[in-house]
């Protein structure tokens, strides 16, 4: 037998080994995307469909105000909606993993307990990058333009991605609680649908009344959309609504990202550990 000296890393070494284990799992997920490209195709078709449906079905009926072109104004809403929906993917992927025999292999290996989650959320960033790319191209075709500098646009893209990343951890946690692909799909529809529709993604904040408007103004999806519109220069010169999150959309969105990660990363890792000891 060759001498294999097991090492149980500590401190900083433990963090880097957790990241590298996560990366190994992420690579495995990426191989799977290549193996079953049909999934990717469907994931990418739905945002295209949304862009076209909203641009041409509601395009004539909804007027965000002033001289703003609805199609251009809408695209950032679709960006936000799509990356938010993308988190369902994390949940479904993780739920599937938890039901398969491979999870026993992972559990019996001396790898970081967080690796399955870190790997899953990381590989789903690739999905989001691809779907943003596809949506951006579709958007350009229907008349969307980036009217700010490259740096601003980059901030917009990064913001969309980090918000999606944080939400992935939420859905990951749900998947650990209820490891069923069907339940995840239905549950996320029920939660994410209102979250994205009761926001400024498709209609302007002003079209909501009373309590609903307050909800819309404080909805993180609204802030994300508003931030993206400002970064890409798609506000059409309209002033931001007079609520703190709308006045400071980037800060507010990042605040949510930090909050979600601080709560759900430890919660998910703990739940993974627990569910692996049944």
């Amino acid at each position: 037998m060759t001498a294999y000296v097991p090492v149980t890393p500590h401190g900083f070494a433990r963090l880097t080994s957790a990241l590298s284990d996560g990366w190994v799992v992420a690579q495995r997920n990426l191989i799977k995307i290549r193996r079953v490209p049909e999934v990717l195709v469907w994931v990418l078709i739905s945002p295209i469909m949304f862009v076209l449906l909203f641009a041409y079905v509601f395009g004539g009926a909804i007027n965000p105000g002033g001289a703003v072109d609805y199609k251009e104004w809408l695209i950032c809403g679709i960006f936000a909606q799509t990356v938010v929906f993308g988190s369902t993917f994390t949940g479904a992927g993780l739920a599937e993993d938890m039901q398969k025999g491979i999870i026993d292999r992972f559990r019996s290996l001396p790898m970081a307990r967080s690796a399955v989650l870190v790997g899953r959320t990381a590989s789903d960033v690739v999905y989001n990058v691809l779907s943003l790319l596809i949506m951006g191209l579709t958007g350009l075709l229907v008349g969307w333009r980036i009217r700010e500098g490259a740096l601003d646009a980059l901030v917009g893209v990064v913001l969309l991605l980090v918000f999606a990343y944080a939400l992935s951890w939420v859905m990951g946690y749900v998947a650990l609680l209820v490891p069923s692909v069907e339940v995840i799909n239905n549950a996320s529809f029920i939660v994410i649908m209102p979250l994205t529709f009761v926001s400024n993604a498709f209609v302007p904040t002003e079209s909501f009344d009373g309590v609903l408007r307050t909800i819309v103004e404080w909805n993180p999806v609204s802030a994300l959309t508003q931030a993206a519109r400002e970064c890409f220069g798609n506000t059409g010169g309209l002033p931001a609504p007079d609520a703190w999150p709308m006045q400071h959309p980037i800060a507010y969105t990042l605040g949510w990202v930090v909050l979600i990660l601080v709560v759900f990363v430890p919660l998910s890792v703990r739940q993974y550990r627990r569910s692996s000891l049944k």
Binding site: M1, T2, Y4, P6, V7, T8, S17, D21, V24, V25, Q27, R28, I31, K32, R35, V36, K100, G101, I102, I103, D104, R105, F106, R107, S108, L109, P110, M111, A115, S276, L277, K278
Partner: protein, 338 residues
């Protein structure tokens, strides 16, 4: 190398483990033999850090699995009842992934993967997704995954359950090679024959507790060796047939309910069968069927506990027809009939 003391695990009122002790010496093989639901898989999961027992402790290579599960995992390789490989990934990709998660590094993981694929006769299928593999190939890949880091301790949970005759024979060969190279091995099985062929020591368990332990020979001497079974063509010759069988039998001759089938344990097997055939020939006793049968787990159970094996709900094994047979021969016959 592997030690467990007083393992207890209860699931909602069902006691899966009721205080199990075991010890596997370095370089030896222990078989945990028992029917479905006996607690074999639960014991394996407790020892391999996959579950926390309600009571008791376990050590792998001197490492306390409860105090230092990571350390224990680094020292053991597990191959489960259900091949734990990723279906979309190729055999090679699966093994490289496992190697990297054992922290062997990319280079070494790749070299090790090729080496193991060659050794387990999977080199030709190395780059195909494992969903295209046969059951036997998947099991071999799963076993290869357990060996990636050359851990000092190997745990195999029902390595051949559900495999066809050929794959089972192949798997036995692979496991025997491992044993030859000095691995410490704990394996669970429902087949007495499998335990007999592979293990130095057999621990028979039922309802989460030990009911017997010893070498295969020791257990067999308690249960009788092979049995001769006879089905008579003419029931009225039963008495004559019984008398002749009693001459070669170790103890008493059992007569079946139909009044035409007889069976008895014999010391060696073939010699007694030959003598009996000669005697029947001489006396003109016609038989429909006559043969030797190895004692099955069921026979061991009947002798040791006085009751037959029975599968219980909440059982660890797979359900369905694969789970029922206790003797590989019976199992294969069922496979063939399907």
């Amino acid at each position: 190398m592997i030690r467990a003391e007083g393992l207890v695990k209860r699931y909602r009122g069902v006691t899966a483990l009721a205080g199990l002790d075991l010890e596997v010496e370095a370089g030896t093989v222990m078989a945990l033999l028992g029917p479905n639901g006996a607690g074999k898989t639960t014991a394996v999961r407790a020892i391999t850090t996959l579950l926390v027992p309600d009571e008791g402790r376990a050590w792998v290579s001197g490492v306390d699995v409860l105090a230092d599960p990571m350390g224990a995992r680094a020292r053991l390789g597990l191959s489960g009842q259900y091949a734990a490989v990723d279906e979309q990934l190729s055999g090679y990709e699966n093994l490289v992934m496992v190697g990297r998660l054992y922290h062997l590094g990319r280079r070494r993981s790749q070299a090790r993967a090729r080496e193991l694929l060659d050794r387990f006769d999977l080199a030709d299928a190395a780059d195909r997704p494992t969903k295209t593999y046969s059951g036997g190939m998947r099991r071999r890949l799963d076993l290869a995954a357990a060996l990636v880091a050359e851990p000092p301790v190997l745990v195999l949970d029902e390595p051949t359950t559900g495999l066809d005759v050929r794959s089972r024979a192949q798997m036995w060969e692979v496991i025997r090679d491992l044993v030859g190279s000095g691995s410490t091995l704990l394996l669970t099985t429902q087949y007495l024959e499998e335990a007999d062929r592979l293990a130095d020591e057999i621990l028979v368990i039922d309802q989460g507790r030990e009911i017997a332990r010893g070498t295969a020979d020791e257990l067999k001497s308690r249960t009788g060796g092979e049995r001769i079974e006879v089905v008579l063509a003419e029931p009225h010759r039963l008495e004559d047939a019984r008398r002749e069988l009693a001459r070669v039998a170790l103890d008493q001759v059992e007569v079946g309910e139909s009044g035409r089938d007889l069976s008895a344990a014999v010391a060696t097997g073939a010699a007694e069968l030959r003598d009996l055939l000669a005697a029947y020939d001489e006396k003109g006793i016609k038989v429909l069927d006559i043969g030797l049968r190895r004692p099955t787990l069921d026979d061991v159970f009947l002798t040791l506990t006085g009751h037959r094996t029975e599968s219980r709900p909440g059982d660890s094994g797979p359900s369905g027809p694969d789970a029922v047979p206790l003797d590989p021969a019976v199992h294969d016959e069922m496979e063939a009939r399907r």
